[in-house]
């Protein structure tokens, strides 16, 4: 590990989210000298995934943000001369708000339970933060003070609709010591109000828990099994991210699981949506007539452009209205609208609906019988895959590396350098920066949207089948028209994102209020809080919630470059994660920016096959095989000349 950083680069990239990482790979690949930095200690920014303890540390960090000290940062003022001016960058992250944590499972925790084998890069801060969060959950006397509306086990019972929302005033007492934080992370311990007899049983059983009962200490201990994504996305199997991964061969670093089921929520019930031809025919829920109607409609959607007469008259109407004219039962209309086109009743035009349906159908069967893939170990892997590619081509990586300011040449108005927190000046020609690093000043006129997120750890699937290893996506339509649909993604342990016998559930919608306010009603419909006692199997139809987190994330997608104040023309801005299911926005943005900066370079061409690289002898001239143009390592034309087959060819079913 060397310590001195070079000071001359072609491109400096600030932030390791998906678009920045794709750009880093593309730039290094085309021979640019790239410095890629992130002020955080992990890759991915708001695209990161965390182990359980990692997530708790992240929460702590969000909470402490407004409190960061200035120590140890050299002043940049002395480092620029009169022909230059500085544009300072933001010192703390402001993209996460309204974090709230609920712990439903028993806190039978010996004080020092720790994640097994967890790596903590920053031991002091990470450990202390875990402790604080734990202790917020632990002390008994606190329960009563802020959970006035709930029951503490052992006191009287009151079976009620538990609102999981103590007023902030209730929590102020124990938040006192953390007053400095603007953005409170509220940690609630929710005890369950059970029947008396159950209560007693709990007491008897405390030290030998029933099988499959999961305690908080188990979650902490197995914390490394979790890879909890801050964003919840999937890859469309014909989408631009998959295409890019394949084209650039970054796919060699990633593995995926098929999403196995598309679910729908209708009349209080979760059911599976048949979407492939085979599914439709095998469906037990659909009648013969419905099967025929659905097949007919889906077949039409696949090449709807060829049959303009079928929809032209309705082009301006809502898709939901159009479906009503197509002799489809309400059941089928619901499936098509919410689960296949994944749109809503009141916002989608016929044309957009048909297009979405077609996209969905085209993605079917490329890799499996739903159109979606999920990356093993979480979406947070994907930016890292691109970073690895960039590093392989010489990109230099520095995490925990803060940038204080851009140095701008007054005369040309172009950015010449950055000054980092060591006071080192690093020169480059182009600068790429993620939105959240820009100062409030630069963003003062920008209107941001918000994303509401919930992360749940549960004990069972929302739709049980013989196999407990399903990966499911469910769209819950809004109750009131005009509100947003909620996207629910349920991951099983085979995706390497949660421990055995648990499920990791992600909820996402675009925000109208705080995340909890936006999402709690859906959580309540699908789950029930964890009950300490063993309940009759029959009685327990809904999966139980073990742990829950809500937060809002800023959505900086779709912001026009010109909305930022005073940025030099060679500073390019990438946005944070958007609310969409796919990753098209990030890929598109990376490609567009790359082409703007390097109009004559190819975007992420395939690298040479490792087997084809021969290391150069000192005497030999490089010889490169046709497709790959590699600057340093040299290629032998490959024996079985791997031609670039058009991927599409393989996936027509």
């Amino acid at each position: 590990m060397a310590d001195s950083l070079p000071t001359e680069f072609d491109v400096v990239i600030i932030g390791t989210g998906l678009p920045e990482s794709i750009l880093a790979a593309a730039c290094s690949r085309s021979g640019q000298r790239v410095l890629h930095v992130d002020s955080r200690s992990y890759y991915g920014g708001n695209w990161a995934s965390f182990s359980f303890s990692g997530l708790l540390s992240w929460l702590k960090e969000c909470q402490q943000n407004s409190n960061v000290g200035e120590e140890g940062t050299a002043t940049w003022q002395d480092l620029i001369d009169e022909t230059e001016e500085a544009i300072t960058l933001r010192k703390e992250d402001a993209t996460i708000q309204h974090t709230e944590v609920f712990c439903y499972v028993g806190q039978d925790v010996e004080d020092n339970v720790q994640e097994v084998g967890a790596l903590q890069k920053n031991p002091s801060s990470v450990e202390s933060s875990i402790l604080t969060l734990d202790s917020a959950c632990l002390p008994e006397e606190r329960h009563t003070s802020y959970l006035t509306s709930y029951e503490v086990p052992g006191t009287n019972t009151q079976k009620s609709d538990r609102e999981l929302s103590p007023e902030v005033t209730d929590t102020e007492e124990w938040l006192e010591k953390e007053k400095y934080c603007e953005d409170k992370t509220c940690v609630y311990t929710v005890s369950d109000g059970e029947k008396d007899e159950n209560k007693l049983r709990v007491k008897d059983n405390t030290d030998k828990p029933k099988k499959n009962r999961i305690s908080y200490s188990q979650i902490v201990k197995e914390g490394r099994r979790f890879n909890i994504d801050l964003v919840s996305k999937l890859l469309y199997s014909q989408g631009s991210l998959i295409d890019l991964l394949i084209k650039s061969n970054v796919s060699r670093y990633a593995e995926f699981k098929n999403v196995t089921r598309i679910l729908a929520f209708r009349e209080g019930k979760v059911e599976q949506v048949p979407c492939s031809r085979a599914d439709v025919f095998n469906s037990k829920e659909l009648t013969m007539v419905e099967k025929r109607m659905l097949m007919k409609f889906l077949t039409f959607c696949l090449d709807y452009e060829q049959h303009p007469d079928e929809y032209q008259a309705f082009e301006q109407c809502l898709f939901s209205e159009y479906l009503k004219t197509k002799k489809l039962t309400p059941n089928l209309r619901h499936f098509i609208l919410h689960s296949i086109a994944m749109t809503s009743e009141s916002s989608c035009s016929t044309l957009d609906g048909l297009k979405a349906t077609k996209t969905f159908l085209q993605c079917l069967g490329r890799f499996g019988n739903t159109p979606f893939l999920f990356p093993l170990y979480g979406q947070g892997e994907i930016p890292q895959c691109f970073c690895r590619m960039s590093a392989v081509f010489g990109g230099i990586y520095c995490l925990r590396h803060k940038v204080q300011c851009f140095v701008v040449d007054r005369e040309s108005g172009r950015c010449k350098a950055i000054i980092d927190h060591f006071g080192q000046r690093i020169n480059a020609k182009y600068f790429i920066v993620e939105d959240s690093y820009l100062s409030e000043e630069a963003c003062s006129t920008v209107q941001y949207r918000q994303i509401s997120r919930a992360v749940l750890i549960t004990d069972q699937s929302i739709l049980k089948t013989e196999s407990d290893q399903q990966v499911s996506i469910l769209i819950v339509p809004p109750v009131e028209p005009g509100a947003c649909a909620v996207r629910v993604m349920e991951l099983c342990s085979a995706t390497m994102t949660c421990m055995k016998d648990t499920y990791l559930v992600h909820l996402t919608c675009s925000s109208s209020k705080t995340a909890r306010e936006d999402l709690e009603s859906v959580v309540k419909k699908l789950f029930t809080p964890y009950a300490e006692a063993e309940i009759d199997k029959e009685e327990l139809t809904k999966p139980q919630l073990l742990w829950a987190l809500y937060f809002n994330m800023r959505d900086s997608s779709g912001i026009n470059r010109s909305s930022y104040n005073g940025l030099p023309s060679n500073v390019y801005v990438c946005s944070g994660p958007d609310c969409e299911l796919g990753n098209d926005h990030a890929v598109k943005q990376a490609e567009t920016l790359f082409q703007e900066i390097f109009p004559n370079e190819e975007f992420c061409p395939p690298p040479p096959n490792p087997e084809d690289i021969i290391f150069d002898g000192d005497d030999k001239q490089p010889e490169a095989s046709g497709t790959s143009n590699i600057k340093m390592a040299k290629l032998e034309s490959s024996k079985e000349s791997k031609s670039l087959e058009s991927p599409g060819k393989h996936f027509q079913n």
């Binding site: 990633a254 593995e255 098929n258 499996g368 970073c387 290391f615 590699i630």
Partner: protein, 211 residues
Amino acid sequence: MQAPHREHLYKLLVIGDLGVGKTSIIKRYVHQNFSSHYRATIGVDFALKVLHWDPETVVRLQLWDIAGQERFGNMTRVYYREAMGAFIVFDVTRPATFEAVAKWKNDLDSKLTLPNGKPVSVVLLANKCDQGKDVLLNNGLKMDQFCKEHGFVGWFETSAKENINIDEASRCLVKHILANECDLMESIEPDVVKPHLASPKVVSCSSCAKS
């Protein structure tokens, strides 16, 4: 010729300070050549070496060299993910690179475990032994002690230049991995999709895809 009965694919990491000879070792091992011309490694991701272990077993080794990011100690998880073993390399002519060995080992153990929670097998390589400056190593006993303390499965004095002990070191590592693997069988993941340029097949078991 009889087809071998078993094939193993192992990902191995090659770790160590700048310029200790990581790339040279891989190059010697995989491509049987050596260059004394140093240039920082760029564009090299991993190299493949096929071993005919015994008449029944073929072992494919994917040797992952480290890339620019490691210079500053910020490896991506992608690098570690699912590795089965590692070589940690130091340069006998530069004591500072030996001092870094324990740090690399700790770093590795904190980031990577086998699916059963045990640490992966690591072999220590004392490279450039052709230089005759191996002051550190004249005391073999001390090295044995060091390996024991730090959990290395073995150590070798190697030279990429003179091709000394590289095959031996690799055989030692593979032997330990094979021995470990018996109790790892449960870890095999069915149904994993690996989209690739050359062979965009679904690596999955179709019988599991019922719904």
